[in-house]
């Protein structure tokens, strides 16, 4: 079994708060992994650490079989990874085409390939006729462009933080199919989402993080055997809270 992501005791503290607490994550290569958790559970902090946007307080991380503490190895790993971060990473004053060209060149792709993939991705995301600068884009358009940038190098591992948030139904459908194809060709997708339905339909494996701790990790097959992902999620998060969240005056 080859692991695409492996963390041991991964921890990140912000002052007294342990946003991620001794996380031991195992994600097999070629899997579609859904990383779930309530708001503020530590999902984005985990992704930031795995992608090199945030330094961990302690613990180790192995991405695509490489320890990413060594800068040279980290750079080689980055070459095989695509990322859609929580806060988008665009340059305000470039057009979509320019931005994708820039990313393509950063991944040392041949110019003909960059042009071809730019065209296909922009068409797929319905951004082909956009000559606006990215700063004029709506949130959804920015998200689509960031997704296109993550896909352009055809990476072995994709980190997607809430990729479907703000994306229209058509692009969302196209994107889901694209991600499925990525997994079919052997890539690994690590995604966080609040939409359990999407995770249930797409993912092969999942993990649930609550208050910085990984409380459940398993295969989607076991969910499909009985029950639903929502039930499992509520069970892990604490469904008893729902009982207390009723409005007395609506009962009358």
């Amino acid at each position: 079994m080859t692991l695409a992501i492996k963390t041991s005791g991964l921890t990140r503290c912000f002052g007294d708060l342990r946003a991620v607490d001794s996380l031991d994550l195992r994600v097999e290569a070629g899997k579609f992994y859904g990383f779930l958790g309530p708001n503020g559970a530590g999902k984005s902090t985990t992704i930031k650490m795995l992608t090199g946007l945030l330094a961990p307080t302690s613990g180790t991380m192995c991405i695509l079989g490489e320890e990413i503490k060594d800068p040279d190895k980290a750079r080689e790993v980055k070459r095989r990874v695509g990322v859609v971060p929580e806060e988008l990473a665009l340059f305000d004053n470039l057009t979509a085409r320019e931005y994708l060209t820039f990313i393509g060149r950063m991944y040392k792709m041949p110019m003909a390939t960059v042009r071809e993939r730019c065209r296909e991705l922009l068409t797929m995301m319905s951004l082909e006729s956009e000559e606006k600068l990215t700063l004029e884009y709506s949130h959804g358009m920015k998200k689509k462009l960031t997704l296109a940038a993550a896909l352009i190098p055809n990476p072995d591992l994709l980190f997607l933080d809430e990729p479907f948030e703000g994306v229209d139904a058509v692009a969302s459908r196209v994107l889901r199919d694209t991600l499925k194809r990525c997994v079919q060709r052997g890539a690994t997708v690590f995604l966080t989402s609040h939409v359990l339905d999407i995770v249930e339909r797409l993912c092969t494996d999942f993990g649930i993080i609550v208050a910085g701790k990984l409380v459940h990790q398993g295969s989607m097959d076991e969910i499909r055997a009985g029950g639903s992902l929502e039930e499992r999620f509520l069970e892990a998060v604490g469904s008893d809270k729902i009982e207390h969240q009723k409005l007395s005056w609506l009962e009358d």
Binding site: L90, F91, L94, F102, I103, M111, S129, E136
Partner: protein
């Protein structure tokens, strides 16, 4: 809207302000001190107005009255315009967009916001002064001057109402982020020109005086003495000026004061009614545009829907696909992307254009006045001036290279490229700007001062050498002391006291970094003074050596600074993105 709703909204505004103050108590204390100081100033200004009206203006002729009131009102307008351009976007006391869904009257909120917009420095200082002036004149026995009160108030109403309308219109235009940045840049630029206006006029007047024909000077002294007082005090106001005072609303206050001093109240009354009417129209329009803006109507002429044509940009080579000879591919792509970002940002263009115009303006003034007194030795050094100024204008960009990227810096962290290439790309993106401006100035200096081609060529090499030096310093300071920049501006924001201090020190040390620039001319001068070699070839040779040395040091510094960037990139990311997004 009933009174209880309005009271609740005013309470909400007060609560928001109080909560804001309680979070930053030092700020609250400062605000209180400023408020008390303004109140005192306002009272002083009012009293001063009464005294000036009573003791100085009371016995003046109607013509003098017109001139005096014009001057006071012009001062108020100047202060008002400066206040307006310094806060171009209307900040509303109560945010109407958050009230649209509530069952309340938007007109009342609009009026509250409009009244609150009068709390400006220009009104606090000038309105009591002008009203005090009217009171002083009235107390001196000119009872007709009572009509100055409605006239002044209606004119202020007219100005504030139309300003409110203009700001609302600009706010609607600025919904488009690209236009917003362009408007802010243009307005800030206008502000700089406006502030410099007295200086420009004074300099032009100085030049004119200097170049006045000698015939005036040669006139007999006694003739001049008799001619001057007549021309200054008793010269009648030209009819065109008087007509302008009747037609142009801003001049009605002077015209009203003149007619009241002459015993005729009708022009002042009519002007007050007219100004009130125009102000009413402005306020009505402001209300309509505000509501239309919040309800999402577009502003401006509707352009004809042009059929969308398929762009051929897939075939055409786009700018970012270009290669730079001798530069690694990744660094070249980075340089092109950064250059594109820089040249498309209105705030950067504005900052560079301001620098360019300032140098052009002051340089021309300086050379025009002192060109004849410049010695040949000094000319060797003067040629370095424009280069230093060019780089000084770019230093705030080059010493905080990542602040301008904001969220884009996150992409740089994610990129699989050696960090030295990022630094190289950053530096290269500034090179065309530095060279472009620098060479333009050098050509101008050559034309004005008639400096030899060898010296100008040497100065070009010095420009490159100094750019290398500034790049090394810029890379280091950008890594060690990054700071946030407000989106759409070059203004730093939310910097700690320590960072501010370090920024101050780094800016202060800029002249020290420029010292090598003066080594070649100093060497040339020394050699020629000693009689060993002529200055020109020595300066050229030493400039080449200087450039060679700095290119060597620059190359030497890149790997180390790249590693430093790699180690600090997460901290930089935190600084340049946090609280800005």
């Amino acid at each position: 809207m009933d009174w209880s709703q309005l009271r609740t909204i005013i309470w909400l505004r007060w609560r928001l302000t109080r909560n804001q103050w309680s979070r930053n108590q030092l700020n609250a204390v400062l605000i209180m001190i400023v408020a008390v100081a303004l109140l005192v100033l306002s009272v002083v200004s009012g009293v001063a107005g009464v005294l000036v009206g009573f003791f100085i203006l009371a016995e003046r002729s109607p013509t003098r009255m017109l001139i005096a009131w014009d001057l006071f009102f012009a001062a108020f307008l100047f202060a008002w315009i400066i206040g307006m351009v310094s806060e171009i976007q209307r900040s509303e006391t109560i945010d109407i967009s958050r009230m649209l869904h509530l069952p309340i009257s938007l007109r009342d909120i609009f009026l509250v916001n409009y009244i609150a917009s009068h709390l400006t420095l220009s009104i606090i200082l000038f309105l009591p002064l002008i009203l005090g002036l009217s009171l002083g004149l009235m107390l001196s026995g000119q009872w007709l001057m009572i009509w100055m009160f409605p006239l002044v108030l209606s004119l202020v109403f007219m100005i504030t109402a139309w300003t409110y309308c203009l700001r609302g219109w600009l706010a609607a235009l600025m919904v488009n982020k690209r236009k917003r940045r362009a408007i802010i840049a243009v307005v800030t630029f206008s502000f700089i020109v406006l502030v410099q206006l007295p200086n420009i006029i004074s300099n032009l007047a100085h030049d004119r005086k200097k170049h006045r024909p000698d015939t005036v000077k040669s006139a007999p002294l006694d003739e001049q003495a008799t001619r001057q007082p007549v021309s200054r005090s008793r010269r009648p106001i030209p009819n065109a000026v008087l007509l302008a005072h009747k037609v142009v609303p801003f001049l009605w206050v002077g015209n009203g004061a003149m007619s009241l001093a002459g015993g005729n109240a009708l022009p002042a009354v009519l002007s007050a009614i007219g100004a009130f009417g125009i102000g009413g129209l402005g306020l009505r329009r402001a209300y309509r545009t505000t509501i239309r803006f919040y309800q999402g109507h577009t502003v401006g002429r509707r352009s004809k829907q042009r059929p969308k044509t398929k762009k051929v940009s897939t075939v055409r080579k786009n700018f970012l696909e270009r290669q730079l000879p001798g530069i690694p591919d990744e660094a070249a792509a980075l340089a092109l992307a950064f250059f594109r970002c820089l040249t498309r940002a209105p705030e950067v263009k504005m900052a560079l254009a301001t620098n360019f115009i300032m140098l052009l303006l002051f340089g021309t003034m300086f050379f025009a006045r002192r060109i004849s007194s410049l010695s040949d030795n000094l000319k060797l050094f003067v040629v370095s001036g424009p280069i230093v100024f060019t780089l000084l204008g770019m230093s705030h960009l080059m010493l905080n290279q990542f602040g301008f990227d904001r969220g884009g810096f996150r992409q740089l962290v994610l990129l699989p490229v050696p960090r030295r290439h990022i630094l190289l790309g950053k530096n290269l993106s500034f090179l065309p700007i530095a060279v472009g401006f620098g060479l333009t100035f050098l050509v101008l200096v050559k034309i004005i001062l008639g400096i030899s081609f060898t010296i100008v060529l040497a100065a070009g090499l010095q420009l490159l050498a100094t750019f290398m030096l500034l790049s090394i310093a810029g890379n280091l300071i950008s890594i060690l002391v990054p700071y946030r920049i407000t989106p759409g501006s070059m203004k730093r924001t939310k910097t700690s006291a320590m960072t501010s201090f370090l920024i101050f020190i780094s800016r202060l040390s800029f002249p020290v970094a420029m010292v090598p620039m003066f080594i070649p001319p100093a060497t040339g001068l020394l050699m020629s003074r000693l009689g060993w070699l002529p200055a020109g070839p020595v300066i050229l040779l030493s400039s080449m050596v200087l450039l060679g040395l700095l290119v060597f040091f620059y190359r030497l510094s890149l790997p180390g600074l790249g590693n430093m960037l790699l180690k600090r990139e997460k901290q930089i990311l935190k600084v340049v993105t946090e609280k800005v997004e």
